[in-house]
């Protein structure tokens, strides 16, 4: 009896909320068209996709994993996976801590106005597009650009930054730090602002200087935010910004700049090998998802912080 009543009330609750569902419709239409329908499209990784026949009518690949095997039989597979992982791991190592240090230091600036000015300046580059960013790199670091001019003036030799492989990663990661340090710091700055001033007062009475206050109050208290950001960063390790990598590619640096996603774009859209490129993309997404899952599990287990 009560079960029936409970059921009825769920149904009537749904009916009573119909207006809330109407408000959701546009976003749900988007969700199914542009997020889940493409996921359904992933099955072409297991088919010999013909654009005329469509997804359903295209025959299954023989064997089913034909395109995955094809990918792993090429030398580009190992190279692009390696390039993707190295680029993201280096990026994580070199850029993750920078906004945290910046936020901690900025938080110690005494003048409220100076603090605001520096902060506002710091996230200006975030509003630049990748195209503009890479264009700025290409003019500053070109053979006759400002940087090379400075190097020559101080007795060095002209370096071909934008076309030689050894400069690709430093430029890529350096420009990421330049562009996103201020933006990434916002979250840490907000966390620092939320710290109860009584902690500082108590520490000052005990004679703790600024450095000690940073080490023993600020850092422990923003640690949960840091861990959360770290999981998110680890969870995106395979989705390193392919737009910038693509834009920074030059004939001389593809040995390090060809990452999985730029490779997918080339074989998929420029040479129309749809099934093959989708298989490569699926491999990338699955690996990324597994890494995210492991990172989240570890942090849930050891720090009790989780994103889902």
């Amino acid at each position: 009896m009560s079960k029936v009543l409970g059921r009825e009330s769920t149904l009537s609750r749904v009916l009573r909320s119909w207006q809330l569902y109407v408000l959701l419709i546009p976003a749900l239409v988007w969700l199914f068209t542009f997020a889940y329908y493409p996921m359904y499209g992933l099955i072409i990784a297991f088919k010999d996709f013909r654009i005329r026949a469509g997804i359903l009518a295209s025959p299954w690949a023989q064997p089913l994993l034909k395109y995955f095997q094809q990918f792993f039989s090429t030398s580009i597979a190992v190279e692009s996976i390696r390039n993707t992982i190295l680029l993201s791991v280096y990026q994580l190592l070199f850029s993750f801590w920078v906004p945290i240090v910046f936020a901690l230091l900025l938080n110690q600036i005494r003048g409220a106005r100076a603090k605001r000015v520096v902060q506002t300046v710091s996230y200006a580059p975030y509003f630049l597009s990748n195209v503009v960013l890479v264009s700025i790199i290409s003019v500053l670091f070109s053979a006759n650009g400002v940087i090379n001019n400075l190097i020559v003036a101080s007795g060095g030799e002209v370096k071909l930054f934008t076309s030689q492989a050894q400069y690709f990663r430093p430029l890529y990661i350096g420009s990421t730090i330049w562009q996103s340090m201020g933006f990434s710091a916002i979250i840490y700055i907000a966390a620092l602002t939320g710290i109860n001033p009584e902690y500082y007062e108590a520490a000052m009475i005990d004679g703790a200087g600024k450095l000690k206050r940073i080490l023993y109050i600020d850092i422990p208290l923003i640690l949960p935010t840091v861990i959360l950001m770290f999981i998110l960063a680890v969870g995106n390790i395979m989705t390193v910004g392919y737009e910038k990598a693509y834009l920074m590619q030059a004939a001389g640096n593809t040995t390090v700049s060809e990452i999985i996603s730029t490779y997918i774009y080339k074989v998929g859209l420029q040479t129309a090998q749809y099934s093959f490129a989708t298989a490569v993309g699926l491999f990338n997404s699955v690996v990324n998802f597994v890494i995210l899952f492991i990172a989240n599990w570890l942090s849930k287990r050891f720090a009790d912080i989780s994103i889902f």
Binding site: A27, M39, I205, E243, G268, T278
Partner: protein
């Protein structure tokens, strides 16, 4: 009295270590600001300086020989005008469409009494961590029939799940449940509450969302490359990219005529970088309040 003051002074007084720290910190902050500003400043200055001086590669702090031909030439460059107008059009469309999809959905998902709320939220959140990828997206755009139209840029970007979560957190924290209950007693429907009560007090989040969506559409590049075909539909970012590439290609050639052409192209490059970044650079100091608000709201929920 004197004693009290002395102890107060003692409390405020900075140790020598703190003074060293403050001095070092100030130096670091100035250095960071210079490193961030200078590259952008250089490009702006180079766009109004005689290319002969710019090409020597010296540091520029102010325009040594003002040269505005770049700007007048840029205006004669048809693809730039097209690109600019296209980008403005796509940005306006995107903001309008995205606000209409994101804000109602975020409100709905902020209602704890929405049956199935958790499941629907999961469907959205899942897409942040797993997606179909480039090729299935491209095929979707084709099969929906919007390839090579404005909608090919606007519709896929209609909802950003991150923005949706930020927006929902805003409603979570600004609309007290008592307000809803009181309105319900007065016979207010869900539509009525959303349109007449929730929306009017949500101008902050509307501004934040408009800013987030506008910035991302203004800067869109790869989607345009994939989902558009006609040159006259390309947004500014693609036009800028083509110009920079054109420049690189002609680097191998020589001759007096090429040198002259090269100068024009070099100048144009600075002009177009400046023109394409300028609107956001001018707008953001005024909008940054909303911007920081948005990021902070998002961080609360994570």
């Amino acid at each position: 009295m004197k004693k009290a003051m002395a102890s107060h002074r003692h409390f405020e007084a900075r140790t020598r270590g703190d003074m060293v720290f403050d001095a070092l910190n100030a130096v670091i902050m100035v250095l960071i600001s210079v490193i961030i500003i200078y590259p952008m400043w250089y490009v702006v200055i180079a766009s109004v300086t005689d290319p002969k001086i710019v090409n020597t590669g010296k540091l520029l702090f102010y325009p040594e020989a003002v040269y505005l031909d770049g700007y007048s030439r840029a205006l004669e460059f048809p693809s730039l005008t097209f690109g600019y107008l296209n980008t403005i059009k796509y940005t306006l469309m995107s903001v309008a469409v995205s606000l209409c999809t994101t804000i109602p959905a975020a409100y709905s998902l902020s209602r704890l009494d929405l049956p199935g709320r958790k499941a629907i939220m999961f469907l959205f959140t899942f897409t942040m961590f797993f997606s179909g990828g480039i090729i299935p997206m491209y095929l979707t755009i084709r099969s929906v029939g919007i390839y090579n139209s404005s909608w090919a840029l606007v519709l896929p970007a209609a909802v950003s799940v991150y923005n949706l979560i930020v927006c929902r957190s805003f409603f979570d924290s600004t609309l007290p449940i008592e307000l809803l209950e009181a309105s319900k007693i007065d016979g207010c429907s869900d539509f009525g509450f959303f349109f007449r009560i929730a929306l009017p007090i949500s101008s902050t989040i509307i501004a934040v969302m408009a800013l987030f969506y506008a910035t991302s559409m203004w800067n869109t590049f790869f989607n345009a490359l994939m989902f558009l075909q006609d040159d006259n539909k390309m947004p500014l970012q693609v036009v800028l990219r083509n110009l920079v590439l054109a420049n690189q290609l002609s680097q191998g050639s020589s001759g007096a005529e090429f040198a002259e052409r090269q100068r024009i192209i070099d100048q144009l490059k600075y002009v177009i970088i400046t023109l394409s970044a300028l609107p956001l650079m001018i707008a953001y100091p005024f909008l940054q309040k909303f911007f920081v608000a948005g990021v902070t709201i998002g961080a609360v929920k994570g």
